[in-house]
Structure formats: structure tokens, C-alpha cells
Amino acid sequence: MSLKNVLENFSYFRQDAESGGTHKYEHRFGMAIDLDICTGCNSCSTACYAENNLPVVGKERFEKGQAMHWMRIERYWDEQEFEGDFAEQGAKFMPMLCQQCGAATCEPVCPVAATYHTPDGLNAQVYNRCIGSRFCSNNCPFRVRYFNFWSYYEDSWPEPLNMQLNPDLSVRDKGVMEKCTFCIQRIRVAKDTTQREERPLKDGEFLTACAQACPTNAIVFGDTMDPDSNVSKLWMKHQVQRGPFTHKKEKANEELRGYRVFEELNVDPSIMYLERVRDTEV
């Protein structure tokens, strides 16, 4: 980017990240997660561990908050239930993973630009470039970035288990930040195939490990730029749009259950959640 380029295209570079920024997208992968169907079975999380070479850190480190679950199932109880016997109504589950924000707060703060926006609408994390200043994680409202606090690989996969590691991606060493990539290795394979066969990417041609593993199909994955994809249809049905947060939605309509977490921070998350329908009044 030369100075001349900057001066000539100043208004282009001045576009704010909240309204799309300067990115030229080929795809914008996104999700719709239906919390009403989610049973909290953790199979998405397990699939993620298997697919992405996530180390199992053990009880002690888990309790310290050093777990590496890119896809985690968060459990919430209503307050009055929390006081009394919550077992009857049970917890509410929320699968939380990197939201691949369009205006990601993690990106501008990285001192070495190890995290950046790809033309696929993803926040890529370059492990080799990361120096571990951890500002990205501090600036993430969802707290979905995980840091290699230890050399986990040393004890996570004892002898025969190392054979199960996914050869399509690396095993990370200590001092590096990592996070959900929407299974970028699968995206790569699919894109390479479509390029070879000279055809556009079909919806459902590949799925992320979590979406593939979900027994109730609560997780729908796809390209939100493709209007015919399942995920786009869901987004449109629930009147959730890309870009800055607006209050246009008619709240009265009970059919409209879609929302994006921390939408009001204008980070433009790529994941739409569908509210849980409750049996009882809260």
C-alpha cells in the first residue's frame, strides 16, 4: 500500500469497519444456532476437539481456566431458579464459539497483525506470527480466544493417541493464541475442489465439525452471502441482518427469535442465535 494509493483512494480506506470496511468478500461464512433445539449434549465441543487438535488439559488446568475448548457449551440458570431447585427446569445452554465478527475487535489491537480478516469473512489467526501479547483475547467481548498457557502437546496425547491427530492442521506450542476457525482446513479443501471443478461452492458441500456432529441440527452453517443457503434463509426469516446493530425488528412477532450476541457493541457477529422458547413464564 503505497502513499499514493492511500491518498488517491482515501475515501475508500476511510470506510468504517462497522459498515463492512474495505473488505472484498468472496464468501461470508456464518451460522445460525437454534437454542431451542440445543440439548447441551456437548457433541459439537467433542467434535471440535477431535477436528482441530485441541488438547485435553485435564481437571486441574480446566479449573484454573486454562482449557482450550474452542466450542464451549455455556450453562445459564434463571436467577430465581438458581436460588431454589434448578434441576427441575434445567440449565439453558449456549454453544459459544468465535463469532467471526465482521468488525472484529481482536484485529486492530494485535501488535504484529497475527489476526486479520480473510476474504471468506473469517478472523484468521496466524499461529506462526503470534507473539502472545494476548490483547486480542482481552478485547474480545465473547472471550472465545484461547491461549496456549503451557506446551499442552507434551502430555495431551500420550503415545498411541498422537495417531488420532488431524494432519490437516498444526499442533500449537506454548505462547500462541488460538480460536475457532470455522474449520478452515475444510473450507480450504472445499474451495480447492470447486476451483478445480470450476463451479461455485454449493451450500452444504462441507460443514464445520460442530455443525456436522450436532445430533439435533441446532447448528446450521453456510455462506451468508449466498441467498439460497440454509443459513441465509434462516437469517432472513428471523430478520437478522449483517452490519451495524439496528432496532428495526418488530419485537412483538414471536416468530422472530433471531439475535446476535452483543449485537449492540457493533462488532457484527457472524453467528445468529435463535432464542429458546420457554414452557413457562419467566
Binding site: P108, V109, P111, V112, S133, R134, N138
Partner: protein
């Protein structure tokens, strides 16, 4: 004018040769207390080195950091040391250009403190990195792969700001030392003579050299002031540029600068008392100077308290759910004892400085300054930790109170600072000899002038009595002056 004699900051009758000999005596033959303090500092540093080696080998999990607490005491301590470095610039540069004479006997060690606390602070961003060995990637060196750092990141600004400030303040310290180096060259023997002979850069003390020296010193002072302000503003943008509740605050830059000057002044008070006591510098570091330092500290403490209130009010009336909840959690939640201790130490304790008796009583000043610094450390901790503990995502709420490794490194940083400072006071003069001489000279003249004027006025009064009360209006004005 009588003010000069009343609040005489130093005895103007100090012989110049005595100033030389006193300061040189303070630099020679370390006593037992010095070696004990030095040994303590070295062992503190050894603890930190051991802890850092372990952490380097094992990863940052050794410091018990976890997912919400990606930063912790390292960053709080980093801000603390950076803050400490501001008082030296305040004393030597800001007070220099506004001609505050009382800074002269105490600015040298304050400036040394600036440089050394920056050298201490600089370690923390390195220690806290996950991959320290790739530290240089933050710098915009020319790479054949055309990879640059991310200039949008406040951490990159930090790297620039701190390295600039460190080199500028070290240069400023050195420039201020030149005339004293020449004095020392003339009064010492052996390796010291050689060292000072090189460092004084051929200083002869002729007119041209003094003129150039003054000009350079003033230039550096003017350069350093905006630099000092900008450094801490940039450190504050490490927080203010994020979107986290409790960090994303507009008043952070001035708040950080005020806090920096505050903790720096408190540190100056501590070192003032130590040097006065251990080096028997009573003639130079007088109670009157301490009083002025205390008053300055009080004023800055009030600015800091005001900015605190601004922050609370802005949060309270801003009605941002996350910010407001965090403020409430600070005041009533798990961090409440630390929050109230911070406000007590930072905003209530300084009122003790309103009492002249306390300001002039060195042991109480010492205790007060330690309490103020504690308050300021807690402030930094309260900035870093609660936001991480209680940010947006409730699932990741967690409380963390440091860990052994973190404490060891933080502890050791004080040892490192102590070692540097102890070496400094024995190798370089901790009181600026030439400026004290200047001060005495000016003071003597001011007092002489005042006495002359008094005499003059008495003569006038005598004339008036003789002439029967008819005085021309011009001389009446003189009398009033």
C-alpha cells in the same frame, strides 16, 4: 521579598567547596547499610530471575494466568513503573522551564529514578509475552518478506513511546550531569577520574560551553515534557482503545498522567527521606523543599481524585449496562476491599499533607509516601483486573489474585530498580552540585538586594521625617514596594 528569607529553601551561605566535598563524600566508601540494602536488592532480583526462567520454560500458565485474565499483575506493575518515571520529568523539565528554584537540589535523583523505573517498566511487556523470543516483531524493522507490525495496535505505539522516552530521559539525565562530571574529574583519582574525564566531554566551564549547555538543556526539557505526557497517554490507550467496560473511558489519558505524576511524587518523597537520612544531606534536602514537594503531591492527588470522580460520574450517568455493573462490582463485589483501600490511600490519606507539622516531620512523610504509593499500585491493579474478571460474557467471570510466580517477578522488579539506583548514587552525584551553587548564588543576591532595599527605605523614611512629611508621590510608591 521577605518571603525569600522566611521560606529559605537552602542556606545561602553554603561554601562552594563544602558543596563539592559533601556530594563527593556521599559517593565514596559505601557503609554497611548500603551493602545490606544492595544484597537484599540482589536477592530480590534473583527471585525474579528464577521465576522468569521457570515461566520462560513452562509457558505463561506458570504465572496462573487464565482465560479471562490474560493480563494481570505484570501489566499493572508495568503501568506502575511507567507512572513512577513521570515525576523525574516533572521536577527536572516542567519545573525547570517555570523557574521553580526549589527543584534544584532534588531533581538529579528524581531524574535517575525516571530512567531506572523506565528500565524496569520495559521488562514487563517482554515478560508477559507468550513468545518473548519473537519480541522484535513489534518493531518496524525492514523485512525481506515485507511484513510490518500492525500500526493500529496500541501495543506498537507503546513500543515506540517507551523506547523514545527512555532514550530521551537518559540523554537528559546525562546532559544535566556534564558540569558535575567536570567537577568530579577535578576532585577524584583513579578509575573515577578516567570515567568522569570521558563523561564530561571536555568540559572547561567557559562562557561558550555554558551558553550551549543551557540551550541544550532547555531544548531537551521542552522536548521531554510533551513526550512524558504522550507516553502515559499511550499507555492508557492500551486500555482506552479496547471496548471493554472499565477500560473504554475517554478520561483515561489525563487520568493516567495524573496518576503517574502522583505516584512519581510519592516515590520522590520516599527517596528524598532515604537519601537525606542515609547520606546526611540535611543541608541540601531541607524540610522546606520537602514541604514544597508535599504541597505539589497534594495538588496532584486532588487532580487525580477529581478525575476519578469524573470517571465514576461518567459511568454512572452513562447508563451503559456493562460499565455500570462493573463499577458496582468494584464498589460492592469481590474487589470492594481493594477499591476502597485505593480510594482511601489515594484520596483521603493525602489530606494529611495539609498539616505543616506532618510535612516537616520526615518519618511521617516517609510513611505517608509509602501509603500513597500503595494506593497508586492498587489503582493500577483495579484498572487491569476487575475488567478482565467481570467483562461482557458472564460465563467467563472469574476472580484471580496473582500467583507466586507473578509476585516473585513483581517483587524482583523492585530489587532491580534498587540495584540500579544504589549503583547510581555511588557512581554519580545524587545532588546536582552546580545547580545548588547556582541556587545559593541567586539566593544570596536576592537577600542582599532585599537588605539594600530595606536600607534604602529606612533612609527615605529618615528623609521624610526631616522634610516634615512632604514626600513626592514617586518615592511613596517605592516605599510601598
Amino acid at each position: 521579598m521577605s518571603q525569600v528569607i522566611q521560606d529559605k529553601i537552602i542556606d545561602e551561605k553554603l561554601e562552594w567547596s563544602r558543596i563539592n566535598s559533601d556530594v563527593i563524600a556521599s559517593m565514596q566508601a559505601p557503609r554497611k547499610a548500603y551493602w545490606i540494602t544492595f544484597a537484599v536488592c540482589v536477592s530480590m532480583l534473583a527471585c525474579a530471575i528464577a521465576a522468569e526462567m521457570y515461566q520462560y520454560k513452562m509457558g505463561l500458565g506458570a504465572a496462573a494466568l487464565n482465560n479471562p485474565h490474560m493480563w494481570d499483575m505484570y501489566i499493572a506493575t508495568f503501568v506502575f513503573w511507567i507512572g513512577m518515571s513521570h515525576a523525574g520529568t516533572l521536577l527536572s523539565a516542567i519545573l525547570h522551564i517555570i523557574h521553580a528554584q526549589w527543584r534544584k537540589p532534588i531533581y538529579r535523583f528524581a531524574e535517575a529514578m525516571t530512567t531506572f523505573s523506565l528500565m524496569t517498566a520495559g521488562f514487563f511487556p517482554m515478560i508477559h509475552l507468550g513468545r518473548v523470543w519473537n519480541l522484535y516483531w513489534v518493531l518496524p524493522y525492514v523485512s525481506d518478506r515485507g511484513i510490518w507490525p500492525n500500526f493500529r495496535s496500541p501495543l506498537v505505539w507503546d513500543a515506540f513511546a517507551i523506547s523514545t522516552y527512555l532514550s530521551a530521559s537518559a540523554l537528559f539525565l546525562f546532559i544535566g550531569l556534564i558540569p558535575d562530571m567536570a567537577i568530579l574529574r577535578d576532585h577524584t583519582t583513579g578509575w573515577r577520574k578516567k570515567l568522569y574525564g570521558i563523561l564530561c566531554l571536555g568540559w572547561r566551564g567557559d562562557d561558550r560551553q555554558w551558553r550551549n549547555f543551557r540551550r541544550t538543556y532547555m531544548l531537551m526539557a521542552c522536548f521531554l515534557i510533551p513526550l512524558a505526557i504522550s507516553v502515559h497517554s499511550i499507555v492508557s490507550s492500551d486500555f482506552a482503545m479496547s471496548i471493554m467496560p472499565g477500560w473504554h473511558i475517554t478520561t483515561f489519558p489525563p487520568y493516567f498522567v495524573a496518576g503517574a505524576l502522583y505516584s512519581g511524587c510519592a516515590a520522590i518523597m520516599t527517596l528524598f527521606v532515604c537519601l537525606r537520612y542515609f547520606f546526611r544531606m540535611e543541608a541540601y534536602m531541607t524540610t522546606n523543599i520537602m514541604e514544597k514537594t508535599c504541597k505539589l503531591t497534594f495538588a496532584i492527588a486532588m487532580v487525580w481524585s477529581y478525575l476519578n470522580l469524573v470517571e465514576f460520574a461518567a459511568t454512572w450517568y452513562g447508563h451503559n449496562l456493562y460499565d455500570k455493573e462493573l463499577l458496582l462490582q468494584k464498589a460492592y463485589g469481590p474487589y470492594a476491599p481493594i477499591f476502597w483501600a485505593m480510594l482511601f490511600c489515594g484520596s483521603v490519606v493525602p489530606f494529611a499533607l495539609c498539616f505543616q507539622k506532618l510535612r516537616r516531620h520526615m518519618p511521617s512523610v516517609f510513611v505517608l509516601s509509602i501509603v500513597l504509593q500503595l494506593g497508586m499500585y492498587l489503582e493500577r491493579w483495579m484498572i487491569v483486573a476487575p475488567t478482565l474478571s467481570l467483562a461482557h460474557q458472564p460465563h467467563q467471570w472469574d476472580i484471580l489474585w496473582g500467583s507466586v510466580i507473578q509476585w516473585a517477578i513483581v517483587f524482583g522488579s523492585f530489587g532491580w530498580f534498587g540495584i540500579l539506583f544504589l549503583i547510581f548514587v555511588k557512581v554519580f552525584p545524587c545532588v546536582s552540585m552546580y545547580e545548588v551553587k547556582e541556587l545559593c548564588f541567586h539566593l544570596k543576591h536576592e537577600i542582599e538586594e532585599e537588605e539594600l532595599e530595606k536600607k534604602h527605605a529606612q533612609q527615605k523614611a529618615g528623609v521624610r521625617q526631616q522634610s516634615g512629611g512632604t514626600v513626592p508621590s514617586g518615592s511613596a510608591g517605592l516605599e510601598g514596594a
